[in-house]
């Protein structure tokens, strides 16, 4: 297993890649990709059982990006892991590409096409149910947005997951407290979010979603309870790692200009050097 220090370095590197990707294509969802980079790093480099050289290995853990708009971090990780050549990142959002602005299962490593919010958890319920029916040991990890929690379909899926006792299903909420129009509690109040999920029959825990050791501990401990789906509220900072992007609603899909890119990369390289001996 990769050390937490290595994971930390990896997640900073992924952030730098994400910024360059978005700057290069002049499009992308910057804030959410930065907020969930640590979660994805821990999942892909430490927790999930998967094999980039055999993307369709039946025993692999499944990852579903229900918040599909944060695909940039996923593209950078899948490329880094060798699911497809890094070179191909240059085609991101360009004419005719398969690396579009949402997950696309024409690309190795992507299970399902997402992008319309509120679908991922139902799909994940189906996959977790399928694993049980087939007697397969794989687990399903589903990453959702917090603004996304307003979609009623999420709660339909939540109910079904508990009903079918899907303890091989792990929901993670990127709780960055922002959506496009502003703060989640101003746009459509979610709190008390944890109690809602508990009431729906899930085993719920909270974690600092930008803290690698904390994330690693909880994600390695799932399922938190036999016979119940697990819900992890990962408290994150939208735009994490770039001081002027952090907690700024506009950075949901703001594309860094040349100066912003340079400053952001400077900040992240400085952070990287702190974690390198």
């Amino acid at each position: 297993m990769t050390s937490t220090l290595e994971l930390k370095r990896k997640s900073i590197q992924i952030r730098m890649d994400v910024l360059q990707l978005i700057h290069g294509a002049q499009t992308g969802h910057t804030g959410g990709s930065l907020s969930n980079s640590d979660i994805l790093t821990v999942l892909y480099y430490s927790v999930m059982r998967h094999d980039p050289s055999r993307a369709n290995w039946p025993g692999r853990d499944r990852f579903i990006a229900s918040k599909g708009h944060s695909v940039e971090s996923l593209w950078c990780i899948l490329a880094d892991l060798g699911y497809f050549p890094k070179e191909e990142l240059k085609t991101y959002c360009q004419f005719g590409t398969r690396l579009i602005g949402h997950p696309n299962n024409k690309v190795p490593g992507i299970e399902m096409n997402t992008g319309a919010l509120g679908h991922g958890l139902s799909i994940s319920v189906g996959m977790a149910m399928g694993a049980k029916m087939n007697g397969e040991p794989y687990r399903v990890f589903c990453l959702m947005g917090d603004g996304e929690q307003a979609e009623g379909s999420i709660w339909e899926a939540a109910m079904a997951a508990a009903h079918y006792k899907l303890d091989n299903l792990i929901g993670i909420i990127d709780r960055n407290r922002l959506q496009i129009s502003g703060g989640t509690e101003d746009v459509m109040g979610l709190e008390p979010l944890g109690s809602k999920w508990e009431a729906f029959g899930w085993q719920v825990t909270q974690v600092d979603g930008n803290d690698i050791p904390g994330l690693s501990d909880v994600l390695h401990a799932v399922p938190l309870q036999r016979g119940k789906p697990t819900l992890i509220i990962a408290n994150t900072v939208k735009g994490k790692g770039v001081s002027f992007a952090e907690n700024q609603p506009e950075w949901h899909h703001h594309v860094p200009n040349d100066v912003e890119l340079r400053l952001a990369l400077e900040q992240l390289s400085a952070e990287l050097s702190v974690y390198s001996e």
């Binding site: 004419f95 005719g96 949402h102 997402t114 979609e151 009623g152 496009i180 129009s181 746009v187 459509m188």
Partner: protein, 316 residues
């Protein structure tokens, strides 16, 4: 070149009218930014409802508001409004005959590289098939203004679809007669008719110009209302010009072209070439790249027109 997107015109028009009519309310689903409705939300917070990312709830609430005498205008991306909320549209708005106006923003392939989840290329087909729903696409900012003004007066369910970016002007001002359900003839011609709506009207006009140089005299119809359909204008075009090319930012199935062909096949069968997006998830790219790839361009319309004139479009 015009820099004002239609969504901004919708906001300005609704804001102006809503100041005079407190029953006009605007609803969004975390879409006020993309719908350019932030100025409305700020100016008239009492007449603005935010539902968060919940499109089904959005349309259901609008239907309930309409039942309470309000005049709701719902603004959300066309892809979600016409798909995620479609049962609310069918049952709560159309079936119960509620006065709800749906504004589908960033329609067609406006969200080019975001993929099929964000394209709305079946919306016209789907909404058109629902009784009691009007379907409209404005050709430019002037028509957008007139359309919204007309819809405020119109009682019933309607779906308006607009694109994301500013469109080149089709009209030089709003000094012309606009009526819901009445197509507008933009060019007179006897050889062939080009029928378009929304973003493709400009392309039809440009194609008409190319064809004029080739000695082919095109009629151009702006079919801003796809439902209720202007049957008279379509039958006249079929009878008087004998050939039709339709242009739409939509699947070739079930949209404007299909609506036209439904009329001609019954009253005056003539060749109708339906130009649009073929039956596949649209290729990724900017709108212009996608249009170009699928031949939704003046040059391709010109070629199709020549083939039609030479009767080369026969089924083999």
């Amino acid at each position: 070149m015009n820099q004002i997107p239609n969504r901004q015109v919708i906001c300005e028009t609704l804001l102006r009218l809503a100041r005079l009519d407190p029953d006009i309310v605007v609803l969004t689903s975390d879409s006020r930014g993309s719908a350019a409705m932030a100025p409305f939300a700020q100016a008239l917070p009492e007449q603005f409802v935010e539902t968060g990312i919940a499109e089904q709830n959005l349309v259901g609430i609008a239907a309930g508001l309409a039942h309470s005498g309000k005049k709701p205008f719902v603004a959300s991306p066309a892809c979600f409004l016409s798909m995620r909320s479609i049962e609310q549209v069918k049952v709560d708005v159309a079936y119960s005959k509620m006065n709800v106006k749906l504004i589908g923003i960033s329609g067609g392939v406006s969200y080019g590289p975001l993929g099929m989840s964000h394209h709305s290329l079946q919306d016209i087909a789907v909404v058109r098939a629902i009784p009691n729903m009007a379907v409209l696409l404005p050709a430019d900012r002037h028509e957008t203004k007139k359309m919204i003004e007309a819809l405020v007066e119109f009682e019933g369910g309607a779906y308006v679809r607009i694109g994301r970016n500013p469109v080149q002007d089709v009209y030089s001002s709003d000094e012309y007669e606009f009526r819901i359900g009445k197509a507008i003839q933009l060019r007179e011609g006897q050889d062939l008719t080009l029928i378009a709506a929304g973003e493709t009207v400009r392309i039809a006009l440009d194609a008409c110009e190319l064809l004029t140089r080739d000695g082919i005299c095109c009629r151009v119809l702006n079919l801003h209302t796809i439902k209720p359909l202007d049957v008279d204008a379509i039958v006249a075009a079929a009878k008087e010009t004998g050939r039709i090319i339709t242009l739409e930012e939509h699947s070739v199935f079930g949209g404007l072209g299909a609506a036209v062909a439904e009329v001609t096949s019954r009253y005056c069968p003539v060749p109708v070439h339906i130009l649009g997006i073929p039956d596949e998830p649209a290729i990724a790219g900017k709108t212009a790249e996608i249009f170009n790839y699928y031949g939704i361009s003046p040059e391709n319309v010109q070629q199709i027109a020549h083939r039609l004139m030479q009767k080369q479009e026969m089924y083999e």
